[in-house]
Symmetry: D2
Subunit: 435 residues, 4 copies
């Protein structure tokens, strides 16, 4: 096994750097999806793209038409084939790839998220993607959460299955999910039914906790349930010098809401979070702003705590409208659930990795306080009696996730591929052939 | 005289509608400047454009290079000649046109502002520019303050001088000023020296007060001194779920500043104003916002009151940085002075308009509470011993200035042209020829 | 006349200092009322106290029962007679004193306000009341608005009428009004009917504008209409450490309301004001505050502007409740009207003061931007066809009104008495006797 | 043992109700201290009061002199002996009582807190103290945290030791601590040296968690480190109508601070808390408030988290001063440390209570998120090698601690006394006598 990984190493780095250079935001991953698909095609995977991959109507937080069209046009210019574009048009990105060995065995699903973030990547020469010239070519978009690595790991695992298909049993479903940021894509894939008959579900993330390369956490707890809200305030414009009194100030509504949202009382029963990640308001300096837009997110350690935050947030957002005599519109554009990994799976993972040259240590559990829409997939698998987990793969980070200088050690890639493939080998080995 | 106007009427309407359709923001009036210049060229005016028209370094609030380049490119596509563009490049828009009769007489300067506003024009069929198909072709830019009318009036007066040059004495200087909105262009023209030897300065606005068409105010009081500030907050980004405590929230700094700015105490000595006309902050929903940008404006009835507002505003803006542990940068990007019209000029204007068929009534004075950077020009003329005024030309307004549905009655255009030309005729008539 | 004043001078100083030492807040002027009454009794005035002086139900902003009882008890200890206290009990303070010469002539009403402010008087030796040992004996109560002087002037005028009764005609009504601060007492005296048949109404204030001693303004403009609101927020208490989420924070409602109230947009049609003069909230450090109390005041140059401010204030106060999920109660506890002095009265006053040794100069008009509930009395007199004015009497002020170091020059007292008495002499002289 | 308790029951109820009726705030527990002392004197305890009991200079958050004098005077009127008052004067309340059996054995220290809260007790007949007529006779002061019960338990245990002294060995130190609320008294007793040679330290609280009567938690975790701050803002007063611009608004500083304090970012490493428990500002409605006072508290799960909160709080409080151009003074008036109970003690307690008729169940540990200055005492004992714990005694609560209707079931009193005395018996039994 380790030999397989060893040979794969150079390819992993190349994939990673290619995807890193071409980051795309959620539901505009046209080129990314296409590239993943073209690689998988060569390995005999059956591909599902566009509305064959996800329940289009279950997506939330889709960019507006102008933006989608802009990126579809761009993808075309970048060489994405018309037939692919036609299927993905309207933000139906991401793909599902299946591989059936034809032999009875477990159905294993693996999920890898593929979208990037609206961050302007550092060009400082101390930032390795910059000094090694694979940093983002797209202004204000960056793989600052490691999803370029996730795609790469997925491809590495997919290639393993393809190359070892004779030794394997059962079925494999790869979910290359769009729009994880904002919790917008997982539910749409889940609703398409991919998780209904899955025996084992595996997903993971690189580098969230202080774990060095070679360390793996078999499960995580602490992923927060979350709700994402878009808010629009509508007021009245007027000349700020001549008629300040006829204006209805939407900018101030957004400002009041922002300040008060962070003051939602802490809760004695657990962790909560709130953020106003974007605010845009007003048109010109001497005009009372008649419009404002905010992107808000709340989280809670449990569904109840998330509901507590959501209710307070909505009341505050509405009060900030009446405070300045404006009107307000709240749209829910994303959500994640809390996540409970199957603890039964821990020992399997530990056992599978025992002889690995890459995985030095598997800890049972770690905790984080982010949010993950893989939760929808996991909960679906658990509901149908399967087992599921979300793993963490250690890497030193000089800068936190979502930072313009975020980068990870590429040595984590073979560690993760080795973990996944050893688990698969242990679960779905074709015992006779092995004999 | 009135006959001259009568014949001009159709041309006024055509000019107005053309300029209305192609609104351009301050310091990007490339096409507008070009079109004004090409018309004036035909009437033997001497033209000064680019750095010949204004002191380039005295401009404030210049758009950034990308924006300028974008609009220069667009102007080129719209047919502006290379030789013109070369001179205007970098936002050196606007022009000065002079006409010297060669006969001794007063030097009269006339100022017309030419820029538009960042407003999305109404397309409702009750909005005449929409129903008559001359509304803005540029999204999010609109002549919502009547400067399209001002340009038109200037051209009407310029044509009169050209056609009546044999009956006139003295010199005429037309200042087609860029970037009045935000108080950014007048100082740069003033510093170029155009106002140093001027005997009479005339400027004006259409439609600010409830005066119907035919009513003219010979002077205005109440224009406020003003200061325009751009503010940038710099904080730290971090993952809002995983590390809320390491973020330094620039969005909240802007929100706190906004709310507290409107609370600057009213002043017992006169009118003050404050507005935060734009606020942009943050990059993504789950990232603590590390950057925020605000456009702020304060005003005061006197220089002292404006200083009072500016000092409070700066203290509040800085305090909002320390409140959230961010850093802040304040740039002054525009200003206007208070304005004192020469009352000595009132009776001249009344006398000049006595026999007009267009001007029904001239009132001595009205008051407004906007701001005007023509104040820099006026104060310069007054300083050198000249006389100066700023007039208002009545028109019914269904919507206030700076409103997406702003429109004026085109009947005001001949009224204004008639007022200006009658004043000129009275001031600079070639008495012998008249004999 | 001036001789009369000359002899009175020492008495004026004594009265002023006595009243200064015993300041009492609105509707608790038990001792003050008693002392004024005991002096007037000796001069044959007919006195009306308690419910004979004012329409008890028309008072607003009455202190609560505990406070009234406390001060009634204190007044008793200070020697106020039982028979007086019985009439005044429940905050029915102030008195009306009438003098009828029995001869036909004008009915002149004069109003003097008698209440003090909740301010802790300075004990610094540069403060004359402190260095001359007549500063307030009541902690946190102070005559910081000059009403001690007003009472004194009223008594000086009253004594003049008593001593010169044989030379005078007509009737005189002295209104020693309680609770001017907060605009709480005038309406109650007005509703009692005292102003219905008045020919001339005179009131005044010492020292509001930069006028030195000897200067008198015959009329004032600019007094603002005003509304005074008391606000109570009711939330839920909870342990701030153990159950922060079950609290409903009334303190934060009051804080949000305060900050937003000052941000009510300035109005283009004239002066507006807003103040939160008091805020009390919470019971203990580690308890989420379940109660908050605010004293708010808005003003406007006209009734319409005051209504504009009142409506915005109420909306903001209510929004601040929903913002923090509390409930709120708004009570209107005082108000004043705008004030229009009779300009017809100006020349009379100028003429009357022509020969005064005290009044050096009478100007026609000055403007201030405070509020005065004498406006209710004036407007009542005007409504019935009488004439009315509110005068200002100049004095140098080292500190503004309502400041802990406020003090006026006692030389203003004879100036004011001389102005009032000369007006009276001119209006109501018994011409035959004068002959 | 249980028989002892059975006989004591009526006395416990009487004591509890007496102390409940006479609640006193921290450092004014003159009558409470005296009453405790007089009871202990009868049982041969050696008493230490005033500066013999605590390090007077180590107290924080002492009421001002006027308040202390007021309550000392009141205590005198209530019959506290002069000799006692002299020692306690200046807020040196609380007492230490020691009992030495003269026989070698462990030194056991027991701490009971004695102060009440600034809460107006409910008089509703559904509130048992009201219906049974033992509610607070002191307006706005109430035993709403069960310290009346704590005193009672302490007395019950003290009486047991006195009555069973022949069967016991070692030494006993009872710390009846003042001013636990606000974390103000424990450090002063600790610094006096009482905890230096203690082998076992026991303290406890009634009713914090959902545990019914008979349930006892042997240890608690989760008590938060905390810092208590008093804040004063100093501005400038001015007349809100006439000179709003010369005021410097201290009320607004406090309001801005309050709103922003609750918005201190949540911390990923653990629980934090913040509260502004009191705010008082301003003097009169039409005066710009020149003074404001706030009582603030922050908490953190660890010392580091508490420091994080304290630093942010101070920066915000200071920024709110510059925001409104006022000055500010921050005083630290109390603090608590985090608390780590000795887990080694758990089994001892479980064993000791095994045969109790009162204690039905002992759980090892529970968690709360309040703060306790007993932490200073515990940490001192631990530092010197002793063992220490803080127990919880279950009781149903219809209302939370610090609520005007807070009440506990008196049945918890014998449970707690039985727990303490059984532990003592087990630890310090005179084995020979027992023989």
């Amino acid at each position: 096994m380790s030999k397989y990984i060893h040979n794969l190493n150079q390819e992993l780095t190349q994939w990673r750097r290619m995807f890193h250079s071409y980051p795309e935001l959620g539901f505009t991953e046209y080129l990314t999806t296409y590239r993943i698909g073209k690689i998988l095609e060569e390995w005999d995977y059956t591909l599902f793209i566009g509305k064959d991959a996800l329940d289009s109507d279950a997506r939330v937080g889709i960019p507006n038409k102008d933006i989608l069209t802009h990126f579809e046009q761009k993808a075309k210019e970048q060489g994405v084939e018309e037939s692919w574009l036609r299927k993905m048009t309207g933000g139906n990105t991401g793909l599902v790839a299946t591989f059936d060995t034809g032999r009875p065995g477990k159905h294993i699903a693996l999920r890898f998220d593929i979208d990037a973030l609206p961050i302007n990547e550092s060009t400082h020469q101390s930032h390795i993607p910059a000094s090694k010239a694979f940093n983002s070519i797209n202004p204000r978009v960056m793989h600052a959460c490691g999803h370029d690595g996730h795609i790469t790991i997925g491809l590495g695992v997919a290639k393993y299955i393809y190359e070892h298909q004779n030794q394997l049993v059962g079925k494999f479903t790869f979910l290359f999910q769009p729009a994880e940021e904002g919790g917008r894509g997982a539910l749409a894939m889940t609703k398409k039914g991919w998780l209904a008959n899955v025996d084992r579900f595996y997903a993971g993330h690189i580098g969230i906790k202080e774990m060095s390369v070679g360390n793996v956490a078999a499960t995580v707890k602490g992923f927060l349930a979350s709700t994402k809200l878009n808010v629009r305030y509508h007021g009245n414009a007027s000349h700020a010098g001549m008629n300040p009194e006829t204006g209805k100030n939407a900018l101030l509504s957004a400002a009041s809401a922002s300040i008060h949202l962070y003051g939602i009382p802490r809760h004695s029963e657990g962790t909560t979070r709130v953020n106003v990640g974007r605010l845009e308001a007003g048109s010109g300096r001497n005009i009372i702003p008649d419009a404002a837009y905010m992107e808000v997110e709340v989280r809670g350690e449990t569904k109840e705590l998330n509901n507590y935050m959501t209710e307070h947030a909505k009341r505050i957002i509405n009060s900030a409208a009446t405070m300045h005599d404006t009107e307000c519109e709240i749209t829910t554009v994303g959500s994640t659930e809390e996540m409970d990994c199957s603890s039964s799976i821990i020992n399997n993972i530990k056992h599978a990795c025992k002889k690995s040259n890459y995985v030095k240590n598997v800890i049972s559990e770690t905790s984080v306080s982010g949010s993950e829409d893989a939760s929808y997939m996991m909960n679906e698998v658990l509901k149908h009696g399967g087992e599921a987990t979300y793993m963490l793969f250690g890497t030193k980070l000089d800068y936190p996730h979502h930072h313009p200088s975020f980068d990870f050690q590429e040595e984590v890639l073979p560690v993760a591929v080795d973990t996944f493939t050893r688990i698969i080998e242990q679960e779905n080995i074709y015992s006779i052939g092995e004999g």
